[in-house]
Amino acid sequence: MWQRSLLFRLIESDKTGRWVLAVIAVFAVLIPFLNLVVPQGSFFHVPTYVVTLLGKYLCYALLALALDLVWGYCGILSLGHGAFFALGGYAMGMYLMRQIGDRGVYGNPELPDFMVFLNWDALPWYWLGFDHFSWTLLMIVLVPGLLAFVFGWLAFRSRVTGVYLSIITQALTYALMQAFFLNDFGFGGNNGLTDFKDILGFDIQADTTRAALFFISAMVLLFTYLLCRFITLSKFGRVLVAIRDSESRARFLGYRVEHYKLLVFVGSAVIAGIAGALFVPQVGIINPGEFNPVNSIEIVIWVALGGRGTLYGAIVGALIVNYSKTFFTGIIPEMWLFALGGIFVVSTIYANRGVIIGLVLGVFVLNFSAPLLIGTLLGQFLLLAKFFTIVFISAVYFEKLFIKFKHVVLPLLSSLRHKKPEADAAS
């Protein structure tokens, strides 16, 4: 008989997730192969910039997975997950900065360029240890995890929930952004950390390094997916759902809600941190912009679009939105925000799994068929035209209404107020 191994148990009931996993696994091998082995100029050759781009998407998918775990399963709508991502990224960035050594512009063997520029004479204490990769790995996990622990401990113990929690997570990432913008904070200020040279002794620009980073990102994503699957399939996962659906019921059943929330929040923050750490060597920069609250909200859109509480939906949502973003910002940059808004509206209206298939088809259509592309764009244009017409008409209408109110209704009201006694007197 079939041996019911753990892996089998995890994907047995996950029909869509299986496919998503399979596609990622195939791409994890295929893309580096097409990049490294297939000669340049061949039709099948994948250029390195595409490998990097796809690697970036995978990091976003990992980040979306992290959010789906807390939001989709436990109902904690974190609008600050970008902060954990950025912190993981900064930890990796600090290691990469130390790897530069004396190859910086100023050639200082001890200090990164930005510190030389600020006339600092010694490395701040919190930069110590980042020469070692093992220390960096520890920090990638520890810094986001610790922040999530302290933040979560305070918030969940005080029973801050719902929209209030969302707002303070947003404040958290905003505060961190402001702090990281400061030069004196010691993380490169506005410019952040960049100009990386090596990672573990390998040239960070080399095709092989890029391909390896892509492969590692895909593997981490697959492993994390299975881990999340294990968590959500266990009784622990059902307690999370219980907390999401009815927090007080979970409490009166005897579950320590704050412990559950704290563990899943910290775990999710660590995943987000790892995603950030994989992201930075691929894009080659980390700056305070990553803490921008808008980024965190975008993560929510990815998950909402793919379908929350499904795990694979988070991955698909992140991949599709980011691919579309690249696509739209490439050909019609000014349309991107409209497209994003449109996607969000569509996913809200058809909030089920069908939307994924529709969007996948849509993306294929956009990509591979010029007439259909034009048709779709025309459709989009007509929709937008309709939208703007409605906005325009309503704007005009409301303006008229306002003018009418100001010039007709208000004087009428005041005249009525003044005339009323006379009318009374007359009668």
């Binding site: 968590i231 266990s234 009784k235 622990f236 059902r238 307690v239 759902v241 219980a242 999401r244 659906d245 009815s246 007080s248 019921r249 409490r251 009166f252 059943l253 005897g254 579950y255 320590r256 809600v257 412990h259 559950y260 563990l263």
Partner: protein, 252 residues
């Protein structure tokens, strides 16, 4: 599972409990003593403080003053909801509260007495004995055939029963049941009364209820609450004969 009544005499003991919200005294010098193994009903008009009393016993609300004791000497005011649930006090809410997006089986499984810690649930496995327990509860509440359906697809009455089933499998020593017959047909109401009487054979049960027919069917000691304190106590016949009770219920 039987309760040894010789170890302690009262399962729940409230003495001089007062709780006010913005100056309004929801509970005013309330004293109630519920004997171990007893089935009793608490009735009273809207705003009499029934739900606040439940909140105080289960740790959701802290009283301003007064004693709340479980099994003679456990001071409940020092614990929170999860602790109190694990001490052995189960609560059914007025509005049926089940986990909507889990199946009926999973709901009962969540309530199953056992480890509540994060690592215990992460690696929890159902033993054959546990499965039997769940089966028995599903039979008792008549939802065996629907075990794999999501709780959100149940009718109001079925949700009430599921919640009662979850309460029983939690193996508490005392069950606090808030309006179990709410939204039920007459037949269901009577069946619920029978179920609660059955449960009371080996648990202490406190029922808060509006429905007089239901209370009559329970055939137990009745405590009438009014404006946050006890107005009358005794059999249903005795309290319904009380003029003050009639006045409170029928208006002045």
């Amino acid at each position: 599972m039987t309760i040894s009544t010789d170890a302690y005499t009262s399962i729940l003991y409230l003495n001089g409990v007062t709780k006010s919200f913005d100056g309004f005294k929801a509970i005013n010098n309330l004293s109630i003593d519920i004997a171990a193994g007893e089935l009793c009903a608490i009735i009273g008009p809207n705003g009499a403080g029934k739900s606040t009393m439940m909140d105080i016993i289960t740790g959701k609300t802290k009283p301003d003053q007064g004693e709340v004791r479980f099994k003679d000497n456990i001071d409940l005011t020092r614990y929170d909801e999860a602790d109190i649930a694990n001490l052995g006090i189960g609560r059914k809410f007025q509005k049926p509260t089940v986990i909507e997006s889990l199946s009926i089986w999973q709901n009962v499984d969540l309530a199953l007495a056992g480890g509540r810690g994060i690592w215990q649930t992460m690696f929890a496995k159902l033993s054959a004995e546990d499965k039997n327990k769940i089966e028995r509860i599903l039979d008792l509440i008549g939802l065996s055939a629907k075990r794999d359906e999501l709780a959100m697809n149940l009718s109001h009455g079925q949700k009430q029963w599921l919640e009662i089933g979850m309460l029983i499998i939690q193996e508490p020593e005392v069950l606090l049941v808030d309006e179990p017959a709410g939204g039920m047909t007459d037949v269901e109401t009577m069946a619920t009364a029978r179920l609660l009487k059955e449960i009371s054979a080996d648990h202490s049960v406190v029922v808060v209820e509006h429905d007089m027919e239901f209370v009559r069917a329970l055939d137990c000691r009745v405590t009438v609450l009014h404006e946050g304190s006890v107005l009358a106590e005794g059999s249903l016949e005795k309290v319904s004969a009380d003029e003050r009770v009639v006045e409170v219920y029928l208006g002045r």
